[in-house]
């Protein structure tokens, strides 16, 4: 009975930490409350959005180009295998030890983490476009750039967004440990228990989890919105042959 109340109490305290200011563990400083949480969340989101924007600007054009030309398959595929083998925290600590702290360095780490899934998925998405469709477009007299912009890109968009979704989740997660590089993200209450105590850590953990789940769902909706009508129509009849249906809710990495 006691333990049940105890852990309800901790979650209760964590929620209270999010909404109400309190004295820090060591005393002297005010911590918690919506004001501080939203400041930390703002930094958290800013560094994540900047990193995602740069990563998209780099990897989507490269993926489109390589996919269109049918070149660099090894590069486009292995970059995500290598990316997975280097843990986010290891990359961050390499940066802290060898390059330095602060916003720019954290953003750089996040960009490096975000590139592989987007690049690989863009490449795979472009390669998956049916050769017949490409032939038809060429037959209509489209030039190379037109073909990419009007045919390949729209048809690859769902797969590209799946990549963006994977990257966004890992960027938001890694921004949390950006606190180690002296950037005050939502990781601050989690990783500085001396000041924030366990309830603070738990409160921030709840906020981080909610933000990430919301971002994942939001990008999922965008993914559906950008899926061309043609693809949706083509996929619907498949529901009758249920055994051949691929996983319906998630289109994460298209390759393995």
């Amino acid at each position: 009975m006691n333990t049940t109340l105890a852990f309800l109490g901790q979650f209760g305290g964590a929620v209270e930490f999010i909404f109400k200011e309190r004295e820090s563990v060591g005393g002297g400083v005010k911590i918690g409350g919506l004001g501080e949480i939203s400041d930390l969340a703002a930094t958290h989101l800013l560094v994540s959005v900047v990193a995602m924007a740069v990563a998209c600007a780099i990897s989507i054009p490269i993926g489109l180009y390589l996919g269109h030309k049918g070149r660099g398959e090894f590069l486009a595929i292995s970059v995500s295998n290598v990316g997975r083998a280097v843990p986010a925290i290891v990359l961050l600590f390499f940066f802290i030890a060898f390059v330095g702290n602060g916003f720019t360095n954290v953003a750089f780490v996040l960009i490096l983490l975000a590139i592989p899934p987007i690049l690989t998925n863009t490449y795979v998405g472009v390669r998956q476009v049916e050769p017949d469709v490409v032939d038809a477009a060429r037959g209509m007299g489209m030039t190379g750039p037109q073909l990419v912009r009007l045919v390949r890109l729209p048809l690859a968009l769902p797969t590209i967004f799946a990549g963006i979704r994977i990257s966004a989740v890992s960027v938001l997660a890694t921004a949390t440990i950006g606190t180690y590089a002296n950037l005050q993200t939502l990781g601050e209450p989690i990783l500085v228990p001396q000041q924030y105590g366990f309830e603070g850590a738990l409160g921030a953990a709840i906020v981080v989890a909610l933000i990430t789940i919301a971002a994942d769902a939001g990008i999922g909706l965008m993914q559906q919105a950008v899926t061309p009508k043609g693809i949706k129509l083509a996929e619907e009849p498949k529901a009758e042959h249920r055994r051949r249906l691929s996983l319906p809710t998630r289109r994460r990495e298209a390759s393995t």
């Binding site: 600590f93 802290i96 000041q195 738990l202």
Partner: protein, 235 residues
């Protein structure tokens, strides 16, 4: 504000008697050779924190996938539940579990298991769904029951896809286990955390984590080659 705990932790490891390179937080081969021992235990902890969750996660996800293979309507719900678990950032997850499972290995392993579920489940299902209808028809024609067909035809044909899932789950878990120290699980992440500005420390601890991911990947790949030798015979 952030510096206070980092400096406090720096003082817990006494490097004052060492040479200039070490005091300057440099990359010191001598120090690495002399102090390599201290990384052996965290390394094996890290192996434990990777292999156990992947094994448990495989059993659960494989079971769920076989169930969903029979009852197709389950695929969607299972994929969204495991997908949500997969989305929760690990740092947050390690804390969210602590009021329930306390500080220690259990918390770390429960969280890490949750991350393997989506990856393995997805690959098992995809592998099973990709089995050619012809092969299944032939199996039925030979009089195999559903159960026999599953174990003798469908699973062997899906094996490359399943093992690809295990590989992804394993490398991912090596990375996530580097944060398990937040749940009191130890591992190489703890070493990183104790002295994050000392280049030698970061290179050895981080390098070992990457090496572990690579070694486990090669082991599974080798196993896959042996287990699917029929594939090359057919080609």
């Amino acid at each position: 504000m952030t510096f206070e705990p980092l400096i406090a932790q720096l003082q817990t490891r006494d490097r004052s008697k060492d040479s200039g390179c070490v005091i300057d937080d440099g990359l010191c081969p001598d120090w690495i050779v002399d102090n390599f021992d201290r990384y052996v235990d965290p390394f094996w902890q890290h192996v434990y924190l990777t292999v156990t969750p992947v094994a448990i996660g495989f059993l659960i996800a494989f079971g769920l996938a076989l169930l969903a293979h029979r009852r197709n309507w389950l695929v969607g719900p299972i994929a969204s539940v495991t997908g949500t678990l997969y989305t929760i950032p690990s740092v947050a997850f390690f804390f969210l579990l602590q009021p329930i499972t306390g500080l220690g290995n259990t918390t770390a392993i429960v969280a890490l298991v949750c991350y393997t579920l989506l990856i393995i489940f997805r690959n098992v299902i995809t592998g099973l769904q990709a089995v050619p209808e012809d092969a299944k028809d032939a199996a039925r024609g030979m009089g195999l029951t559903d159960r026999q067909m599953l174990w003798r035809v469908e699973l062997p044909l899906a094996l490359p896809e399943i093992l690809a899932g295990v590989r992804i789950a394993t490398t991912t878990t090596v990375g996530l286990a580097a944060l398990a120290f937040l749940a009191g699980g130890g591992g190489l992440g703890q070493e990183l955390d104790q002295d994050p500005f000392f280049k030698s420390n970061v290179v050895v601890a981080g390098g070992l984590a990457i090496l572990l991911a690579a070694i486990l990947d090669v082991i599974i790949l080798t196993f896959q080659r042996f287990a699917t030798s029929w594939q090359r015979a057919a080609a």
